[in-house]
């Protein structure tokens, strides 16, 4: 009877270890929180409405992914502690489009955005770095490009394996 109990407890421990190893990266990443910094226009002459729209859409899309425990705004005093990653976004390319031109010609007038997204720790160590695009080619207003861009950034982060947080 004792031998059976020992075997069962050993099997249980092994099962728990396997379960931990097979834990999806999403759950591991949920140990992190993220703070979204203001969008850096870099050397690109981007309209302020686009800059703000990228920032606000990033907050919405990152919260939707449920990848992070908390999503903070830039400058939020509550975003302190080592578990907070900082998302920095720098605009690299911006092609302003025209909704009317899209509606008339279909092939021209696309609004295109290209940004570099970096997830950094408080100490400045870059955890993740990606270049992401966001365009609007057919339907919708020009600001829709910012929504598409934010969704692409969130998806990219979701697909990436973030390192487990050291406690």
């Amino acid at each position: 009877m004792k031998a059976v109990r020992k075997i069962l407890s050993a099997v249980f421990v092994v099962a728990v270890l396997f379960a931990c190893a097979a834990l999806p990266p999403r759950l591991l990443a949920q140990s992190w929180s993220v703070q979204v910094d203001k969008v850096d226009p870099g050397d690109v002459n981007i309209e302020p409405a686009f800059r703000v729209a990228i920032y606000e859409n990033l907050l919405i899309e990152l919260a939707k992914t449920k990848q992070f425990k908390l999503v903070f705004r830039g400058g939020d005093r509550n975003a302190s502690g080592p578990e907070v990653l900082i998302l920095k976004t720098t605009v690299q390319k911006y092609t302003p489009g025209s909704e009317t031109r899209r509606a008339i010609t279909t092939v021209s007038g696309a609004t295109k955005l290209n940004v570099r997204s970096q997830l950094c720790t408080r100490e400045g160590k870059v955890v993740l770095e990606r270049v992401v695009d966001g365009n609007v080619r057919f339907f919708g207003g020009n600001l829709r490009a910012t929504h598409n861009l934010a969704r692409n950034v969130a998806e990219t982060i979701k697909k990436s394996d973030l390192p487990a947080r050291t406690l």
Binding site: K38, D43, N45, E47, A49, Q92, Y94, P96, A103
Partner: protein
């Protein structure tokens, strides 16, 4: 060709561009025009011809309709969206004059907390707060002192929203493109950057009728809002297709 000769017969009126085709199994009307309740277009045309050559002179002038019928059908397809777009344009005329005092009818594009995107409402400045009141009565507001920057821009947008876009897409013979050419309007966009009580950065974008943006910006500056770049005119969007690349 046959229709042509029949047009000329007995009337002395040449109307080569009016080739009217009527179905032969229809009963002939008293005045010789094949009629009957088979569509508005022939009747309308007959009335037009009557006005043109005078009543009673038509006789058996109009006998045949040619490919005009198909064009008329296409035109009738186009008529509805064109009417809709005209009505929309008429509704939007004189929007800049809506600014009465400090209350303006605006569209909240995004960013204002607890307000859904693309919500219509009234933006006002009352007791040092910028207040957005939705059509259903719910209010969101932010203190003017917390505003960090205000920027104006111009956006050229198609009117009518999704319903109109579907209508344009469904219009045959590329008519939707023609409608798009005339159903766009320029709007002012006001970007408000402000901080919440926790120090968190917020940005909100409002869409206003042309000319209202500057008025609102000046009122907010007068109330004490911070502005980093005080320009008199809204910043125009860059030339389409002109790439801006950072180094």
């Amino acid at each position: 060709m046959k229709a042509f000769t029949q047009c000329e017969r007995g009337t002395g009126v040449r109307a080569p561009h009016l080739l009217i085709k009527l179905r032969s199994n229809r009963p002939r009307a008293k005045n010789g025009v094949r009629g009957g309740p088979h569509g508005m277009a022939p009747r309308l045309l007959r009335t037009c011809v009557e006005i043109w050559v005078g009543p009673g002179r038509i006789g058996n002038m109009i006998e045949k309709f040619a490919p005009l019928e198909r064009s008329m059908r296409a035109l009738s397809f186009l008529l509805l969206p064109i009417c809709c777009s005209t009505a929309l344009m008429a509704q939007n005329q004189g929007g800049a004059g809506l600014a009465s005092g400090s209350t303006m009818r605006v569209t909240h594009v995004l960013g204002f907390e607890s307000v859904s995107n693309n919500a219509n409402g009234e933006l006002s400045i009352k007791e040092h707060t910028l207040r957005f009141q939705k059509s259903d009565g719910s209010i969101a507001q932010v203190s003017v002192e917390s505003i960090q920057d205000l920027t104006l821009g111009v956006q050229d947008r198609q009117m009518g929203g999704t319903a109109m876009a579907v209508g344009r897409a469904a219009t045959p013979y590329g008519g939707g493109r023609l409608i798009s050419l005339f159903s766009h309007k320029k709007y002012d966009t006001l970007t408000v950057e402000y901080l919440d009580p926790n120090g968190g950065f917020h940005g909100a974008v409002f869409q206003l009728n042309k000319g209202q943006g500057q008025v609102l910006k000046e009122e907010l500056v007068g109330e004490g809002a911070h502005v980093t770049n005080m320009e008199n005119q809204p910043t125009k969007p860059n030339a389409p297709e002109a790439k801006n690349e950072g180094s």
